[in-house]
């Protein structure tokens, strides 16, 4: 299936969870927040939220700013 991760189309296998996706792209979940189809997903749900085809994910972190 295909999902959109931070504006880019990515392929992943059926049954992939948010945690699985973050692991796949080597993203540290302790330093990120995730929005799935514009809804924030709490960290404790990362391991059981299974992605569906055409899901849109935004994964954010902290960068330099004033």
């Amino acid at each position: 299936m295909k999902i959109t991760l931070n504006g880019e189309t990515k392929a992943c296998t059926d049954g992939t969870t948010i945690e699985g996706l973050l692991d796949l792209f080597k993203i540290d979940k302790n330093r990120t927040a995730v929005e799935l189809n514009l809804q924030i997903v709490p960290k404790k749900e990362f391991s059981n939220r299974v992605l569906k085809d055409a899901d849109v994910l935004e994964v954010v972190t902290f960068v330099g700013g004033g």
Binding site: R31, T32, E58, V60, T61, F62, V63, G64, G66
Partner: protein, 254 residues
Amino acid sequence: MEDKKLKIGKYEFTSRLLVGTGKYPSMESMADALEASGTEVVTVAVRRIKINETTSLLDYIDTKKYVILPNTAGCYSADEAIRVARLAREVGMSDMVKLEVLADERTLLPDPIETLKATQTLVKEGFTVLVYTSDDPIIARKLEDAGATCVMPAGSPIGSGQGVLNKNNMRIILESAKVPIIIDAGVGTASDVTVAMELGCEGVLLNSGIALAKDPVRMAKAMKLACESGRLAYLSGRIPRKLYAKASSPEKDF
């Protein structure tokens, strides 16, 4: 010399300087500048993670030492700012937010109406809201009434380095404020920080003034001393300004 701590909601700080993490020549110089500034609160921005990027800002910030203050920079409506604030809290490092809702890209001045709306919502949601605003005393008061933990008027426009342009407005804001007033934005050099602190501000938040200086680490130290100096002068009670001279040495018995 004892001074009371800077209290922002449930947080207490000895340092009265809040320092940004943007625009340094390198991550290493940023880390050294933060150290030299003596700050205990560092601002960060919230952005999409770049896939395959190996270094992270957070590799250079000791979160046991510094409290993270995420900002909503780049937001031009209450809804956008609220979304970014919620995401920032979800990262799980801080419930503080430097709320910034801008009006346009040319001036980067805050949009007072959208800022007030966002403040009301985020206060209801339990955020510790440090709100960036203009130096307008009425808006500052309304933000305080809306439950902002800390009101942060701009000394002058973001990144302009002009210091505190309207000291009279700042005095009016300080006179009636019951929450900490921290000058945010416009600081160009050490004396700008001192002026803000001498006026009675509880602290100063700055980024470009340090990050874009030729020697950011040295400037960070200068800002630290300026902040302490201005605070001491404020607490000491300055002499009144007079039009005519008054000799310091005895005028008789010579």
